[in-house]
């Protein structure tokens, strides 16, 4: 009574990510990881050229401050911010801090994290531009 039945198997979809808006946004989020990595790489390049002396550093800076360079930075910034926001959103859900026994509502946590982030960014910016 265990006769085999010919079942039909579909091949895995290669274009599933075109299926809906959420999938598309997911792909953007994943690709934004490259942006963050690329940004990190540029930062490391800056550090490296610092060790090579003022001429090397200046020439890198000229590249970075060219119109193409600024455009690249702007694009990377957008992706990096998007990446960070999705991360804050996730951590808010996964490890919500609790206050007086009840978990803090997600919107509050996300807003709070963004506020702290902007706060720290402000002080870093002040520090750089005052001292730099």
């Amino acid at each position: 009574m265990d006769k085999e039945v010919r079942t039909y198997e579909y091949k895995p979809s290669k274009t599933w990510w075109l299926g809906n808006r959420r999938y598309a946004l997911y792909m953007v989020r994943e690709l934004s990881g490259f942006a963050v990595a690329l940004y990190g790489f540029i930062f490391l390049a800056q550090l490296f050229t610092l060790t090579q002396g003022p001429i090397a550093y200046e020439s890198l800076l000229r590249v970075l401050l060219s119109p193409a360079g600024i455009l690249l930075s702007a694009i990377l910034l957008v992706f990096a911010v998007f990446h960070s926001l999705t991360w804050f959103d996730l951590t808010a859900k996964v490890q919500p801090p609790s206050m007086r026994g009840k978990p803090v509502p997600r919107k509050l946590v996300v807003t709070g994290t963004i506020m702290i982030w902007l706060f720290i960014s402000y002080f870093v910016a002040v520090f750089i531009f005052r001292v730099g």
């Binding site: 010919r6 079942t7 039909y8 579909y10 895995p12 990510w17 809906n20 997911y26 994943e30 996964v94």
Partner: protein, 247 residues
């Protein structure tokens, strides 16, 4: 008598004795405001084509039998109202991430195996005799398992998951969510054992947090979040096991 409004139902069929490939059949079904796709399928089976095969039982969204793709979206046919569809034709197809047996009926053994592998029962270090009464659990502790205990095993989440599509061995949303429910049950002592299973190959690390599973879940179980929480727990558990043990 006013003429009866009808709607076209296009169904992806598969009859292994008749053809190697699936094919489409189209039917005209009388339409009324409160009809669901399941009602249309039953009308077809009763009046137009007795060979149309599909699973269903409770017709109220609690047994998880009637999963299908309606207009390309994973839905329970008993909870999918005809009036939700735009246009005058509705497409009904079987779940494509599972092997089709016939028409809308798919092979679900793969899920039953996963369910068994996560040990969905209470694991205790020490059993309390029944005569001594129940394990105490406060309403707050009970609330921790509320969401993930709602899973009806409909497998729509597996249909929504691209990872499962590419790798059938992935533990998947429902099994992970049910295991999370076990971990969070204050009466269960099996957290370490469960996390070992969940952090092993084909476990939660395969999930890339696409999140579509939680979107299609008809019971708002939010398996995506359960998996991310398990990742956090798993990560902490692994780090703890690497630290030197306190004497």
């Amino acid at each position: 008598m006013a003429s009866q409004k009808t709607i076209k139902i296009r169904v992806k069929r598969y009859i292994p004795e008749k053809a190697e490939e699936p094919f489409y059949s189209e039917y005209d079904v009388p339409y009324s405001e409160d009809m669901v796709v399941l009602d249309a399928l039953n009308y077809i089976k009763d009046n137009l084509d007795g060979s149309l095969s599909f699973r269903w039982s409770c017709r109220m969204g609690v047994c998880g039998s009637c999963s299908a793709n309606v207009d390309g979206k994973p839905k329970l046919t008993c909870s999918s109202f005809l009036k939700e569809s735009k246009g005058d034709s509705i497409l009904v197809e079987p779940l494509s991430h599972f092997r089709t047996i016939k028409d809308l009926v798919v092979e679900i053994d793969v899920f039953v195996k996963k369910l068994k592998s996560i040990k969905p029962w209470i694991i205790r270090n020490e059993e309390k005799p029944i005569a001594d009464g129940e394990y105490l659990q406060t309403p707050e502790q009970r609330d921790l398992i509320k969401q993930t205990s709602m899973c009806i095993n409909c497998m729509l989440c597996y249909e929504a998951c691209p990872v499962f599509d590419m790798d059938n061995d992935f533990i998947g949303p429902a099994a992970a969510a049910i295991s999370y429910r076990s971990v969070m049950d204050s009466r269960d002592d099996g957290a370490k054992e469960r996390l070992d299973i969940l952090t092993s190959k084909h476990g939660v690390w395969d999930c890339t947090y696409i999140g579509e599973c939680s979107v299609v879940c008809p019971k708002a179980v939010d398996p995506a979040l359960a998996i991310q929480k398990l990742k956090a727990m798993g990560g902490i558990s692994i780090i703890k096991s690497l630290l030197p043990k306190k004497k």
